[in-house]
Symmetry: C2
Subunit: 329 residues, 2 copies
């Protein structure tokens, strides 16, 4: 296990479904005290009076082995009687909430209202679902992703779920981020000088990773970090495995390529893991000073997740091994 | 239909399961514009951050034909995945909430928070569940039933559900009742001079009907009403069909008899419908100036409910016929 990363802690930045798959692999490859999964909370929203944290839930269910494998989100084998009854009552039923899943939202809402922090609630609920590794929100203060679209500004979930990502996006902003701080565990890990690696999971850079990077102090800390910093590409042959990454990049005037993602993460990464389908761009990345690992990045099975995580950790270790002699010159 | 009560509106005071069965019968026997079911809200409570109105829900489900017939409360054929998941997360799972049932609580909570009154929310949710007759809360202001027990004061649901009615009760009080008003539709009906009847449903007098009577102005209006006022006994042979009525009466130092219930409703009723099993007390009731109708009061089938309601309405009409000549003397 620990030989994959060597001693030290791995800090992984993560969004929902795609990122959670790599987080699952990292958790399988690392002891429980050597991984912190920092999760985007820009997608969080209040709905039906409930505090919903979709990415935290997806990562929690995935690490607990409870996630629905088809959908990638929600609890496997869940039922939908609440949502059906709500529709009959004229309630808002566009956001899918399964009956079991609802318990997480109700309990989180109750505990937040009782004064617990999102970090505390997230850690305890994950623990109760038998997750051993650390899942922490990017911030305990509310940050809300808004999309400026052709039909006007939309909160993230309205864009993503209700409007099925159809409106053309002109910009993305993170409401409340200037007043936010990294959550205590995230801040603690950002301040560590002995991180084995910082891994940016294969999540949407604009919608899932940027909110984390926008929390004051985070981008600065990562750009100054001595640890190897590796981004795993969310694109495969210029297309997203799931979600609107490529469509969004086109609308923002950015080519849908791993090179464009590398440029987006400029000064924040030392290396990228890209798919075989994008191998032709390895030289572009290397020309930018990045180390590149080319592999199969689509994660269909648990074995795929663990393999990609292990390769990513080995790759990060090799970077550290390379960097150390250079630093000692 | 309308010949059962003749012209005019019937006002029924009602608690949960037992009362709801008679309300179902009254709704079957009366046109939709000739019945108001006023429901106890002393059992209402906040739980898991939700506004729960158990008696309103029971009456709503029962009139909609959706109630679980075994339990008497909740939605028939409901599932329990939310509650199971909540227990796993360490949430409070002592109050039974089915997955479909939860939609009612979530939607009510959302709409109350948005500023609608409990009357408005109750009427609209009932309408969406195809209930044609009027279900109104006793008050739009919160009134909360507390029981002073041998183990200290308990909110109603803690006594009733969590503690299974086991603690010995020394007294009952209705927190907030002095600041409450009858709900608008209830106040309107109380002010009518043309009510066909006021019916007290076979609900617990101390826990389900007393909160309604304790709302300022209600007992006064009923005691001054010219309409026939009939209580249907919740006891059968000195025992409650369901719930703690008889046990509670013993603890409060009152004999568990229909005569004691008549005395409890003194000046508020002209007549009682009692079970054949209590026929020996008819003379005691008549000695108190009450008219008595003796019949089979246990409601097992829908036919039982409609028959008891029709008999009660016919009985009330006979009282009016008797009273009219007397008034014209």
């Amino acid at each position: 296990m620990s030989q994959a990363a060597g001693p030290g802690r791995v800090l992984a930045l993560c969004g929902g479904v795609g990122g959670a798959k790599l987080a699952f692999g990292l958790a399988a490859a690392l002891p429980e005290d050597e991984l912190t999964v920092v999760v985007n909370t820009g997608d969080d929203f209040q709905h039906l009076g409930l505090e919903i944290s979709p990415d935290i839930d997806t990562v929690t269910y995935t690490l607990a082995g409870l996630a629905d494998r088809e959908r990638g989100w929600g609890s496997a084998g869940d039922t939908w009687n609440f949502l059906g009854a709500l529709a009959r009552l004229g309630g808002e039923d566009w956001f899918q909430i399964g009956d079991r899943d609802l318990a997480l939202h109700v309990e989180r809402t109750r505990r937040l209202k009782a004064g617990e922090s999102l970090s505390e609630v997230t850690a305890d609920l994950a623990r109760r679902l038998t997750v051993k590794h650390s899942i922490v929100p990017m911030s305990d203060q509310p940050v809300r992703t808004w999309l400026d679209t052709e039909i006007g500004p939309l909160p993230f979930q309205h864009y993503f779920v209700r409007e099925h990502c159809l409106p053309v996006v002109r910009g993305v902003r993170f409401e409340g981020v200037t007043g936010a701080q990294p959550s205590p565990d995230f801040a603690r890990d950002l301040a560590r000088r002995d991180l084995a690696a910082i891994v940016i999971c294969p999540s949407n850079p604009y919608l899932s990773i940027d909110p984390i990077l926008a929390v004051p102090g985070v981008a600065e800390a990562i750009s100054a970090a001595a640890s190897p910093r590796v981004a795993v590409s969310p694109l495969v042959g210029g297309r997203a495995v799931k979600g609107p990454t490529a469509k969004l990049m086109a609308e923002l005037g950015v080519p849908g390529t791993v090179t464009a993602i590398a440029d987006h993460y400029v000064r924040l990464i030392d290396a990228m893991v890209i798919d075989i389908a994008d191998a032709d761009q390895a030289s572009c990345l290397e020309a930018r000073g990045l180390a590149v690992h080319v592999t199969q990045t689509v994660m269909t099975t648990d074995q795929d997740r663990v393999r990609l995580a292990t390769e990513t950790l080995d790759f990060a270790r090799s970077l550290r091994t390379l960097a150390q002699p250079a630093a000692s010159l």
